[in-house]
Structure formats: C-alpha cells, structure tokens
C-alpha cells in the first residue's frame, strides 16, 4: 500500500517555495503519514478515514495559504516587466468596453421605433456580437501599446499568449452560447413570440455545435432531398465564418507583438493596433463575398488567421534575433 500523501508531497514540491514546503506541506504530510501508519493496524475503515481527513486537511491548508499569498503573487506578476501585464489588461478592458459600446449603439439607432422598455433589452441582445469584434481590437491595441519598442522575451511572448488565449476563450464562449441566445432574443423582441418559432432558428441563432449537427444532417440526407447538398455547403461556409474569427485574438495578438516591438512611439502603436483588426475584418468580408459568389472552400475563411499568425511569428523571430529594446530598461517594482 502506498504511503499517504506521496503524490501530494511530490506535486507540492514542484509548485511551492522551499519555505512553504518546510513550514506547511512537510509537517502536514509527515503527521498525516505518522497517523496513517498507526491507523493501518486498526483496520481498513480507520485507514480510509485517516487518509481522507489528511487529504482534506492538506487542501484546506493549501487554500488558506494561497488566499494569503495570492495578493502578493498577483502584485509580483502584475509588476513584472514594468507593469506590462497590468498595462495590457487595463488598456484591453478599456478598449473592449469602448468598442463594444460603440458597435452596439449605431445598429440600435437604425432600428424601427420600439417600446422604450424594449430598447435596453435590445441593446443587451446586440452586445454579444460586438464582443466578438471588440475582443481582438482591444487585445491588438493593448499589446501594441504595452509592448511597443520591447524585445519579445519569452516572458513577454508568454504574457501575450495568455491574453490571446483568454480573448479566444471569451470569443468562443460568446459565439457558442451568447450570440445564438442574443440573436434569438432580438428576433423575438422585434417580431413577437408568435412569429418567431423556436424550431425555425436560422444559422445566426444556432450555436456552433447545433450548426455542425444541421450540416451533418443535411449531408446525410442529400441523396434523397434535392438542394440539400447546396444548403449544406452554404451552412458550412457560415459555420467556418463563425468559427474562424473566434481565433482572431490569438492571430492579431501575435501579429501586434511582432509588428510593434519594432516601434517605441505611442500614437503609431495604438493606430496600428486598431488598423490590424480592421484589416483582418476587411479580409474576412472580402473572402466572404468571394466565397459566396465563387463557391470557394469554407477553409478559405481561416486564411486571415493563418496569415496574421505566420506574419506575427516571423516578425517576433526576427526581432528576437535583432538588437535589444529601443526603450531604456525598466526597473522592477518591489513587491
């Protein structure tokens, strides 16, 4: 039978500091093992009880310790690289809120008059669509501004990747759940419950998984139903058109890092940080128009992602090999 807490002790050793191991983890595990050895002689039930109580105590102690050190750890992470993480986060949140707000209001103003009570609700239903566009713009401009003139060290690249993954996860969550729900709520509010039937949702009101299932069903029955293959192809294009922009944060984040580590000037960095997402969406729009007319393969929609990712990685690589930062070195902040 294995000694109690062996795996926990080993795992903690990889994560925790030497002081935490000596003061917290090792006394706890040593006492747990001692109690466990004694319980072994008293039967299986006692052994199980002692082991469970020991594990509970371990996780309780770790949680309490984490709660105590989290503010200091968070501050250290935020203060690293001249408050790079904090600056990117603050700029990204600010731009994201601003862009989302700006992209939600004009469509609302263009709508036919509705009851004042419904306007707030309609505004809310338009927010998810704006979020998918706002996240890459926010991330791109925040990275461009935050990383301007810096040499992309592995730590900076990792920071950018973490932000890009967060932006991508946000976009995927929004696309899968919030946008279909928002679009459906918008239709119901505008047309009325009796006109919009839940079963007759269009591609914009379907989640990615539901859209995929509808395409599979159409393809499976295409031999019997005329026009099913063409409808499946149309939906497949929409499916990829919904999927691909979810990864825009990742593509534009890397691209921004690559391009604007070459410049230390503030205004061009921010302007370019906004221009890159605009170029991205313009590419996607042109591709969509071409794909609809020329029946291009749906994978075409992934071209902007591939272009921006490869361009960004190439530039990061070039900059990593080049000279150091054009900015003076920043002093690390004391925790």
């Amino acid at each position: 039978m294995s000694r109690a807490g062996t795996w926990l002790h080993r795992a903690a050793g990889r994560i925790c500091s030497r002081t935490t191991m000596e003061r917290l983890i090792e006394p706890l595990v040593a006492d747990m093992r001692h109690e466990h050895v004694q319980a072994l002689a008293r039967g299986r039930w006692q052994e199980w009880r002692v082991r469970t109580a020991g594990y509970l105590a371990f996780w309780t102690a770790v949680l309490i310790h984490m709660a105590a050190v989290a503010p200091r750890l968070g501050l250290n992470v935020a203060a690293a690289d001249g408050w790079l993480v904090a600056r990117i986060a603050a700029i990204a949140v600010g731009v994201f809120l601003g862009v989302t707000f700006l992209m939600t209001l004009p469509p609302l103003e263009a709508l036919p008059p509705v009851r004042p009570a419904s306007r707030g609700w309609l505004l809310l239903t338009l927010v998810p669509q704006a979020m998918v566009i706002g996240a890459p713009i926010a991330l791109s401009s925040a990275i461009a501004y935050g990383c301007r003139g810096r040499r992309p060290s592995p730590r900076i690249v990792a920071t950018v990747l973490v932000f890009a993954v967060i932006g991508t996860a946000l976009a995927l969550t929004t696309r899968q759940w919030l946008i279909p729900a928002g679009n459906q709520a918008f239709r119901v509010t505008m047309a009325g419950e009796d006109v919009v039937v839940r079963g007759l949702r269009g591609p914009s009101e379907l989640s990615l998984s539901e859209l995929g299932a509808r395409i599979d069903a159409l393809r499976a029955g295409s031999a019997d139903a005329p026009g099913a293959a063409a409808e499946a192809a149309r939906l497949a294009r929409i499916y990829h058109l919904h999927w691909a922009p979810c990864f825009a944060s990742l593509a534009l984040g890397l691209f921004s890092l690559g391009v604007w580590t070459f410049s230390s000037r503030r205004l061009p960095a921010v302007a370019a940080g906004i221009a890159a997402p605009v170029a991205y969406w313009a590419c996607l729009w042109v591709l969509d128009a071409s794909a609809t007319r020329a029946m291009l393969h749906p994978v075409t929609y992934w071209l902007p992602n591939a272009t921006f990712v490869s361009g960004g990685m190439l530039l990061v690589r070039l900059r990593s090999r080049g000279q150091g930062s054009t900015l003076p070195p920043r002093q690390p902040c004391a925790p």
Partner: protein
C-alpha cells in the same frame, strides 16, 4: 508537540486544516520555534516537526491574557 497533537489537545478549538498555517505564521513572528525529529523509516523518511513556545511567545500570550481578563468583561456588558 506535533501539529496533530495540538489539534487533539485543543479539544476541537484547532482544526487540522488550519493548524499548520497558524503554526507557520507564529513561527515567522517568533512566537514559537520548531525542530525536526529524526526521520522515521516507517513514514517514508519524512521527519515530523515539533513545535515549542519561545520566550517571546510566552510574553505575548501572557500580555494577551492580561488584556482579555482586564478589558473583556467591560466589552461584554
């Protein structure tokens, strides 16, 4: 005393999940001192840590008890 001995002796006042965190903080402040016992082979060679109160710890405890005895009845009225 060991951490688990303190839990057992406290009659439910101390919990096994919090006692080591508390002991660690008290040791940082110098109220207690600890030493490692010889590593017993039966428990995988991990030595247990024994804790003992320091002179400073005793002084702090006495002061705290004095404050509680002196002022706590006034607060409860």
């Amino acid at each position: 005393m060991y951490g688990l001995e303190l839990v057992a002796a406290s009659d439910g006042e101390l919990k096994r999940g919090t006692v080591y965190v508390t002991l660690g903080r008290m040791e940082e402040k110098g109220y207690i001192a600890s030493r490692l016992e010889d590593p017993p082979p039966a428990t995988g060679g991990l030595p247990r840590r024994m804790y003992a109160v320091t002179a400073l710890g005793r002084q702090v405890r006495d002061t705290w008890q004095f404050v509680v005895e002196r002022f706590a009845p006034g607060f409860s009225q």
